[in-house]
């Protein structure tokens, strides 16, 4: 098929490669001047092209996601070493030539695939030039030099007298200059990086690479146009055209199509028919969400929709029995008889149990993008912008997608980067699981398969479930599904207003999206500062206690006892401030708990130690007290959303004694201090008892300690419910 090309290729090369032994391709870099004129199998033809396509797709998606040059360079070279490795000549890798041959072949196959439309050509040139640039920059300097010397770039070294004449910048005396027609370095001209004179550009040697890249680009552009003109002669080959069609469509959808290959097998976990609805709400990409809701609404799906959704569910992990059960339930307007006759065969067919008995893989994004009716295919492509926006909002608003995010998603859609839009939606809806922008579905990869999306989403939930206390179990009890965002509410359940969830999600995004120094402090709300003041009070109390121990000055003891009270004041205030400013934050909720631990956990315990609970067992009990407080606060944060609420959204009761109640203990301690019933004066009331061993030994404990132990138990209790005031 390439026989039409010029037959001069390698003969020209041979004289120059003597230094490199018998290598047919002396350099890793290649300008692809001559078509490959060796025999290839049709399989090589396809696989090498597919591998190169993966790399180019990665380059395109890097550009679409605004990765920095360094970042996209590293991502791309990772892909390169995976799919199309090119080892430098120095390594003496015996496969060196075969690798380069493959690179050469794949480039030309893709030329055939992408020369056919203006748009494809433009994108191909851009991606290939970027790939060349990356390889050029990563090539070993000596080899790059050798490569450059092997070609004539037709640049003219500037002699000294000419240099003086055009008055080249004097400070770079040592630097060599070359002159070329300015049209060969438009990028340098645009940035005014070169001196122009009479249509000649004087290019310093450090900018020479620009000429090389430009040359590559211009040559490729010309070659593609020529190929496009000659391509009709290829149309007769029935084996090649389908491959080429497939390749160019793959590029259109930006797919590196990993999933297309291995999605014949199903995910490991078995999924039950009744779980599908729940999973659809949480984990499905928009295409499958749409199909699911159409199915729920109409109790029917058309053939293609059925096929698309059925195969998706199969790969998701629905066994054939569960699948039949699911479809039977969904097609509720049909009788059993009708269903068995018309649809059951179809379902079993998907599983390879009927007809051709092929275990069909699920449709990849690439396939979905090519099809196109309204209720199946890729909604990012087929929907009108308005419909898409409302579909996105209705589907993903409970998962944290907000109106303000839509512009970003729509921008990707408008530039026809549908997979980027889908990936961005994934990132936004999984922000609560810690997925950040640019991370994609892991390692920065974009969505290429609906099942990949769903599987990754379910994975993420599993990992976050480990953190959120047995969330699914609770949700089963509750019968209703609680979206993860509900767990983010501020510690005061009473602040819950309908729009609060949204505000919180926004606050969370703000933390994620702010970069730079002091981002934490810059994002502080007023309420957060008040909460911090609570922590400050607690800390002061602790230091005052310590000072009292050092000096025995009772003033310090009083200070230590008053500070937790001040802390309580701030604790009340922060909720008020948050409600008043209508700005609660994720941070606020956590801060609140941590500050409480200091002021109402650690500080009172230390006070108790100071006034006299100083025996060995006393400290053990006080430590227990602190730990129970700690556990209680953690439980509160995790479960606050699950406590039954009254109409106003206020929680009806506290589960276990709230930790600020420990101020009661502090009050008792201060009464004793006033009466002088403390260590160093008259001693604590009720004195000590010796549980074991000698008096004054390890077994001695103050009876008062048991009050603290009881208090600790009450705090962690689940059955004890303290009604809210």
């Amino acid at each position: 098929m390439f026989k039409g090309g010029k037959n001069t290729s390698n003969d020209n090369f041979l004289p120059q490669v003597e230094n490199y032994g018998t290598l047919k391709y002396p350099f890793t870099l290649n300008f692809y001047d001559d078509p490959p004129i060796f025999d290839v199998t049709i399989e090589d033809f396809e696989t090498s092209a597919l591998d190169r396509l993966r790399i180019l797709a990665e380059i395109e998606s890097s550009a679409a996601r605004n990765r920095s040059w360094e970042e996209s360079k590293s991502v791309t070279s990772a892909q390169c070493s995976k799919y199309l490795p090119l080892s430098p000549t120095l390594t003496k890798n015996p496969n060196c030539d075969a690798e380069r041959r493959r690179d050469h072949l794949s480039h030309f196959v893709l030329r055939l695939a992408f020369c056919r439309s203006e748009d494809l050509r433009r994108r191909f040139i851009k991606a290939e030039t970027t790939l060349f640039r990356i390889r050029y920059e990563q090539d070993i300097a000596a080899e790059r030099e050798a490569f450059l010397n092997s070609r004539d770039f037709n640049w003219i070294p500037v002699e000294d007298d000419e240099r003086r004449m055009v008055n080249l910048s004097a400070d770079r005396k040592s630097e060599k200059y070359y002159k070329v027609k300015w049209t060969r370095v438009p990028d340098l001209v645009e940035k005014r990086k070169v001196l122009l004179k009479g249509g000649w550009a004087y290019v310093p040697s450090r900018e020479l690479s620009s000429i090389v890249f430009q040359e590559f680009e211009v040559r490729l552009e010309k070659a593609l146009e020529t190929t496009a003109r000659l391509l009709p002669r290829l149309d007769e080959d029935t084996r090649i055209m389908p491959i080429l069609n497939n390749l160019s469509q793959g590029f259109m959808s930006g797919i590196s199509s990993d999933w297309a290959n291995n999605s014949g097998q199903t995910n490991s976990d078995e999924i039950k028919a009744e779980q599908v609805d729940d999973l659809a709400k949480k984990h499905f990409p928009l295409c499958m969400r749409t199909l699911h809701s159409t199915l729920q609404k109409d109790h029917h799906l058309k053939h293609h929709g059925r096929q698309q959704y059925g195969l998706f569910l199969k790969v998701l992990g629905l066994s054939v029995e569960e699948s039949v059960a699911f479809w039977r339930k969904s097609f509720s307007s049909f009788t059993d008889d009708q269903f068995n006759k018309k649809y059951k065969y179809n379902i079993r067919h998907h599983y390879g149990l009927e007809g051709k008995r092929v275990n069909y893989p699920a449709r990849s994004c690439m396939q979905l993008l090519i099809e196109g009716a309204s209720d199946h295919g890729c909604p990012y492509r087929t929907y009108s912008p308005e419909n898409l926006q409302s579909a996105l909002l209705s589907a993903y608003a409970p998962l944290g997608l907000r109106q303000s995010d839509l512009s970003e998603v729509m921008a990707a859609v408008n530039t026809k980067h549908f997979h980027v839009a889908c990936t961005r939606v994934f990132e936004l809806t999984h922000a609560s699981s810690g997925v950040t922008k640019g991370q994609g579905i892991g390692n920065g990869e974009s969505v290429t398969h609906p099942n990949e999306y769903a599987a990754k989403s379910m994975d993420l939930q599993k990992t976050s479930e480990a953190m959120v206390v047995d969330y699914r179990c609770l949700s089963c009890l509750d019968a209703c599904v609680i979206p993860p965002s509900a767990l983010m509410s501020r510690r005061k359940p009473s602040t819950k207003a309908p729009d609060m969830d949204e505000l919180k999600a926004e606050a969370l995004h703000q933390y994620q999206d702010t970069d730079g120094h002091f981002s934490l402090v810059r994002n502080f709300r007023l309420a957060d500062l008040v909460t911090i003041m609570n922590g400050v009070c607690g800390s002061f109390s602790i230091f005052s206690s310590a000072r009292y121990l050092l000096t025995n000055d009772p003033d310090y003891l009083w200070t230590a006892m008053v500070f937790p009270l001040a802390g309580l004041m701030f604790d009340f205030l922060d909720g008020k401030v948050a409600r008043w400013r209508k700005s609660s934050s994720m941070l606020g909720q956590e801060l609140d708990s941590l500050a409480d631990l200091i002021s109402f956990g650690v500080a009172p315990a230390l006070l108790a130690f100071v006034v006299g609970l100083r025996t060995y067992l006393d400290t053990v009990i006080l430590t227990g007290f602190i730990c129970c407080g700690l556990a209680r606060l953690a439980r509160f944060n995790a479960t606050v959303a699950l406590i039954p609420k009254n109409n106003g959204g206020k929680a009806k009761y506290f589960e276990g004694l709230p930790i600020p109640s420990s101020l009661g203990l502090v009050a008792v301690l201060s009464y004793w201090a006033k009466q002088g019933w403390i260590e160093g004066q008259q001693g604590l009331p009720w004195g000590t008892t010796t549980l074991w061993g000698i008096e004054g030994g390890r077994g001695e404990v103050h009876l008062v300690s048991f009050v603290f132990a009881f208090w600790a138990a009450a705090m962690v209790s689940k059955t004890l419910r303290v009604p809210k005031p």
């Binding site: 439309s117 008055n167 001209v189 645009e190 001196l195 122009l196 004179k197 009479g198 249509g199």
Partner: protein, 420 residues
């Protein structure tokens, strides 16, 4: 100005008479074709007609100047525009394979429009133009002309007054015609310093590593002289409070800004020149004292000069080969003035208000008297010789002839490549 536009608005009858008797189709043909014998530079050239009522007819092409004239007289367009040379005849486009009609050659064109200067001119605004604001244009023409001739090496430059408030530049050198869109974008980037529009006082990004590129250094040396005469004395840009606030915004040193503001508020009568010299003094003081390395006020002053006087290009016009631009000698539909080519030597003396209008030209013809019998079919080619349009057409003719001469020279060198 705009109020007086209405009576100047040419009627269809006037337009038709103008096309029949005065429009120099032959000159236009020579200029586009670079030769006397029609070749693809003309036959595959897109010409688009604007008819009254927002009707726009694209993808016309013609074999000869007479064909064009016949069609123009038949359609009587308000104006017509010139597009690129395509790879085939644009009028055959429906019979071609999809994608086969691509632009291949096109004059490099630039458009400078007075509206982009609104933030820095005080005499007029919007669509209006007067002799005073023409100075902005003539400065821009000087800068562009020398850059394009000396740095890019182009020679066949034709400046055309756009009929109202702007100026077009057509570059017909062979190399310029063949530029790709990417190269056009590059040249526009090279020549763009001031981003037009609202944020004109935005910081300029023109220094690579702290130094002005040599091309801009040359431009700056010329613009300094213009700045004094135009901005300071004629336009008196910093007289009003908004004017000098705009100036102060561009100064990076807040202490200097405060000092100058208090001084200028105290004496509102200070002229722009005084204010500029105040500013210049503080800049040189700063430069003299070594304790201030940055922010460099002198750099800021240079930026201000660029901001106020450097050409402001309408970049969209130049970036793509397939952009259409109004042909020379068309009538501007709202002023009735002819889009006349300009000689570089008279650019400073040019007054847009003295450009002949279509009524005036036809009156001149009428004044000559009905020499010939109007019913007799007669060539009107030389009618313009007797009107005030003649000097402009002579400019264009000279330019076209130099292009034709160039083509002849090329053909002699390589007779086989006969312009196809």
């Amino acid at each position: 100005m705009s109020s007086s536009d209405a009576p100047n608005r040419p009627t269809p009858e006037l337009m038709l008479a103008f096309y029949r008797r005065l429009y120099p189709f032959k000159t236009l043909f020579n200029w586009l074709n670079h030769d006397h014998v029609p070749n693809r530079l003309f036959t595959q050239r897109e010409i688009a007609f604007s008819l009254p009522g927002d009707v726009y007819i694209r993808y016309n092409s013609f074999n000869t100047a007479d064909d064009l004239k016949k069609q123009v007289c038949q359609l009587n367009p308000t104006r017509f525009e010139i597009g690129p040379v395509y790879s085939a005849r644009p009028r055959d486009r429906k019979t071609l394979r999809a994608g086969a009609l691509t632009p291949i050659l096109r004059e490099l064109v630039f458009d400078i429009d007075m509206t982009d200067y609104d933030p820095v001119r005080t005499c007029c605004s919007g669509a209006d133009i007067c002799k005073r604001c023409w100075v902005f244009i003539s400065a821009a023409v000087r800068v562009m002309d020398s850059a394009l001739r000396e740095e890019f090496g182009y020679e066949k430059l034709l400046w055309v007054y756009s009929g109202r408030r702007g100026i077009h530049l057509w570059i017909s050198d062979k190399e310029a015609m063949a530029l790709t869109d990417q190269q056009r974008k590059a040249i526009v980037g090279y020549l763009t310093v001031v981003q037009g529009g609202k944020e004109s006082s935005k910081k300029l990004n023109i220094r690579n590593g702290g130094k002005l590129p040599p091309s801009l250094q040359n431009a700056l040396d010329y613009l300094r002289t213009v700045f004094g005469a135009l901005i300071l004395s004629d336009q008196n840009c910093f007289k009003s409070q908004e004017g000098y606030e705009e100036l102060l915004k561009a100064i990076p040193d807040s202490r200097v800004v405060e000092a100058l503001r208090t001084k200028w508020e105290a004496s509102p009568s200070r002229s722009s020149e005084d204010k500029w010299s105040d500013l210049y003094k503080s800049a040189s003081k700063q430069q003299a004292s070594t304790c201030y390395p940055i922010p460099n006020l002198m750099v800021a002053l240079e930026d201000i000069i660029f901001n106020y006087t450097y050409p402001r290009l309408d970049i969209e016009v130049s970036k793509h080969r397939n952009h259409l631009l109004k042909a020379p000698f068309c009538i501007h539909p709202s002023t009735g003035r002819v889009c006349v080519p300009l000689d570089l030597n008279m650019i400073e003396k040019f007054d847009p208000k003295e450009v002949p209008t279509v009524q005036q030209l036809l009156e001149e013809l009428d004044a000559l008297g009905e020499v010939e019998d109007p019913t007799a079919p007669k060539e009107h080619h030389s009618d313009w010789e007797k009107t005030s349009l003649k000097p402009y057409i002579d400019i264009m003719d000279r330019h076209a002839l130099s292009l034709v001469g160039e083509t002849r020279k090329d053909n002699k060198l390589k007779p086989s490549m006969c312009n196809v």
